[in-house]
Amino acid sequence: MPNALWTNLASLFRARTPLAKVLADLPLFADLTTQQLEEIERIVHLRTYRAGEVIFEAGDAGVAMYVIVAGEVKIVLPDESGEKNRELARLGMGDLFGELALLDASPRSATAIATTATEAAAIARPDWMNLIERRPSIGVRMMLPLSRLLAARLRMANRPPSDSESDDAGEDTV
């Protein structure tokens, strides 16, 4: 039965890798079809970091957005002295940071450091721009979730610093 053979082969190739699973669970990629997600996967750079390794530093020109595939990352804000770091957030598997870099090349506002051995999927702005140029439907389906994400961050940042705890989380726009 050639049909059975082909469906078997197709399912073999469609089997989701851990990376695809992590990406598919993100709200940012929620609207994408499996095929479109594969396109995203094709532009992803998988990076591995040792515990304590800096992923990017405040002040660097931001080029890529990161999704944590495994491990843990802390987002810190360097003090004026540059010595003491104020921790803003701790992110785990499936969390996303540096997403502003998808939109422009403004400097990173905080530093990201891997706290354990970490694997992160990086999506670079030039690659992403090129992808949505070639596949506009991907761009359309990502714009709304991306806007929602940024709106949520903005709303958090604009919240009056009434309770001291939320102040830190508010600056989690990396």
């Binding site: 094709r42 532009i43 750079h45 998988l46 990076r47 970091y49 390794e53 800096v54 992923i55 990017f56 530093e57 405040a58 002040g59 660097d60 020109a61 931001g62 080029v63 890529a64 804000l77 004026e80 540059g82 010595e83 090349a105 403004s106 400097p107 506002s109 905080a110 990086a122 670079a124 702005r125 030039p126 690659d127 090129n130 140029e133 070639r134 596949r135 506009p136 600056e171």
Partner: protein, 360 residues
Amino acid sequence: MNAVEKARRNVWWPIVLLALVVGLVLYLVRGSLSPLVLSAIVAYLLNPLVDIGERHALPRWLTITLLYVVIGGLIVLAIFYLMPLLFDQLHEIQQRLKTLWPLLPGYLDAIVEWVNARIPAFRSFIEEPQLGSRIVNTAQEWLTRTLEHTPALLTKALSNLVVVLSYFVMVPFIAFFLLRDGRQFKRGLIALVPNRYFEATLSVIAGVGESVGRYLRGVLLESLTLGLMATIGLLIIGLKAAIVVGFVAGFMNLIPYLGSIAGVVIGCLVALSTGGNVIGVVIVFAVVQFIDNWFVQPIILSRSVRLHPLVIFLAVVFGGTYGGLLGMVLAVPLSGAFVVTVRTLREGLRPPVYSSASAG
């Protein structure tokens, strides 16, 4: 100053080392580099078209194959229709020259006589009788030899079949894979980059790719426009061999400034030998150069590099010394690509900005 910052200060030397190693390797394999360079140029030129195809849901391999079919068809058409025309026109010029030459010595002798009559001091220089005919004879011998050998030269170039065939096979082959899998190659290379340079490398590669592609496409498009304008202009003034001259001018324009100069010189020679309109030729190329400088270049090459004439001259000389005619044609686009690369590298590797205003 903490350790991270210290490490950052030394960011430049591994890059310089890498550049040196890459440069050395390129120097060692320079002999087999030109098909690669040509393939890369072809890939840069065609990539936007392949992207457009992908936008309309055409697989990359299909778009590339279609493009190859179209380009191959154009080349075959050119060989079948344009080549005989070119040879006819060359032949005609040759014939005209043969009838014109015998008249020249008389003119030259008359000029010498005229000069001698008015400036007696000149006579001591020009003692020999019939100087005019001797000059003309030497020039004629040289020119007829060259012209008679032009078809032979072309056939000789073509008869070096191994080289030509290897180019016709290798360049499309390499370019095909560069076009189809270029992004995968790039991703594989970036995977080797240490984390510290990851983002800088991303932005540099993207910047270089874009500017070099834009530059190469610009140069080619400009040469094409110039060649077309020149051909149309020469056809209007009714010059014999207008297509040949326009074609040569367009091709030579890959070396900046040379297109119009070569066009004027060859065009005037043709006009002189065929009784054509010499002033018309000069006017055509003046107008073409004017349009090129003021309208075509600002539009096509506006956001691209502009090389100093001296740099262009030196690049062409070096290119000619090390790569022959192909080297001369490739020299300027390559120097342009080099300048764009260095410029983008410098932009990409500028020290990070620490400003309190941007934090938060």
